[in-house]
Symmetry: D3
Subunit: 128 residues, 6 copies
């Protein structure tokens, strides 16, 4: 499928593109949105959800972007790793922070499997 550019987009897609550009203060939307635009309902639902979830809250946006990146790395999604590395850097992630996100993500993936393999029972203290 080809990306749908702004000039070729129907009104409902243009409205989402406009909101993304305004919210993120960018001149154009990423390829992710231009492909999702083939399904305007999913485009709108996904953007509305992302906008709500990634907004400042109890956790600040930089931390949210680093969590997003860690999950994308765990899942091995090439596009998502590239786009959320860029997004996290834009939100303030330094080289040192990137390296620490990678180190934590790597360790979590390792110990997740050690816990699986040794079939470790959950400590009663964690059940509360």
């Amino acid at each position: 499928m080809k990306p749908i550019e702004y000039r070729d987009a129907p009104a409902e897609v243009k409205a989402v593109y406009d909101d993304i550009k305004k919210t993120r203060n960018v001149p154009d939307v990423n390829n992710f949105w231009k492909h999702l635009a083939h399904d305007p309902a999913t485009l709108k639902r996904t953007w509305d959800s992302i906008k709500e979830v990634m907004a400042p809250g109890a956790i600040d946006p930089l931390v949210k972007e680093m969590i997003y990146l860690a999950v994308s790395v765990s899942n091995g999604c090439g596009y998502c790793i590239a786009s959320h590395t860029a997004a996290a850097r834009k939100a303030g992630m330094t080289d040192a922070m990137f390296s620490e996100v990678m180190a934590v993500t790597g360790m979590a993936n390792e110990t997740n499997r050690l816990a699986n393999g040794y079939r470790v029972p959950i400590d009663p203290a964690f059940e509360n």
Copy 2:
């Protein structure tokens, strides 16, 4: 396999248990370590790595614990979800922060698959 309790542990295992208890200021180690103790070399290597990776750095320990939790949730490791929820709460994660970690983790898992399925090409701007 049965967990190896402190009193039954060989000296090299006791040394790791002692360091965990001292570093974390806890009276006993979790089941994870008591099972890993069947392989003292892996116990020591894993603890040394975790201690190094989870220490305060460019990212603070609470954020590291929330990243660890997000990865464990993505991987579906039941033990790790329970233990790192407990660890993150101990490090200061509130109910509101927990909910936001879950919401971000959920969205990342969703959009990772949308990017996969639509075969979105990486934007040139992300390649730098």
Copy 3:
């Protein structure tokens, strides 16, 4: 490894290629089979299994192809996403159906993690 073309294939591989071409009414087999041909036993076993599993049954072949695609998207297998998108379209998947498969796959991946993270206990009603 290089793909094994029909003209270079041993008799046992040619026999599988012939059956694939006849069953699917195609002039040549996909790269998947040309690579698996390096192991003729696995080539034959895999084709025989696919042929049996993907045949019309209680579920029709189009639905089976869409399930195959949804799983491949979840697993992030680039080759499989490309080949099963093509196969599903050939079996009748429209653009609107593709978009719905993606939307369902995305939501399932999201709620799978929400269920993991909130450690939701299975409802007694589901245990029957």
Copy 4:
């Protein structure tokens, strides 16, 4: 965390519970929603998304439930496997259909890895 029952829920949660019960024609909501209720915004967003995505469209609800189940099985989410098996059965999935969903899901997971391992290049015919 404990499930939040209807009688103890704040008004915004009760409103979502009411809509779930009405839409699905059930006397009570599943544990999934009772746990998500700890985060009313995510509860509402997730329910609204599920309601939109799982509604009849180009694909009928039974097929959508079977895709949801296949993804949940691939991801190994115990709660989701149990709940979506129940949901798919309620939507009309017979024993024979269940078995075919499992067989397709199993084969897809197998061939996804064979394609990964043999590093099969995408056929030019799939790139359109």
Copy 5:
């Protein structure tokens, strides 16, 4: 679903159970087969495939069982971890070998994510 015991099984299922018991020299089959028996075609196909794949070949059965275990641990399949730990032990896996399988599996899961996250390009030397 309930497991299907030998005495209650139809002839085609009994035939597979008999072959499993004879091949593995065991008095009864595992729960895996007793559940798969709800779909006799998948039961037979899966057993025939497992029997072929796990037979002695270029790699001996113990190594195959350890690979099976490593994959099951990576995927977090609780049943499979339990059953293939038992199978590998029966085939000769010692405690020391088990620990090394876990250590390798853990490291692979860690470095897989480091490679993903740092977006390491494939070395030209590996492309041959």
Copy 6:
């Protein structure tokens, strides 16, 4: 990020590169290490761990490399599949052995999902 070549590396990175080259008897290190070098602490920790885990032990290095490959194939890590296929071949993996690793990995991924989907309870005999 760009790979860090030996000539441009700080002393602590050069020391790790030297140890890798000496241990593996190779003229240069792979891209994996050249990218990890952006985080010298993780570079050193990861190399020290890999060196310890992959050394001859109760399991020989060829088997360890095949397990590493099987896990990388399961996770779909493109770089890791390429590099560990090369490493396993260097350690003695023949074409026939490669094919058997793939076949076992494929079957394990299939039956992991069948066990998940049929919700097979663990046999009491496996619990010891």
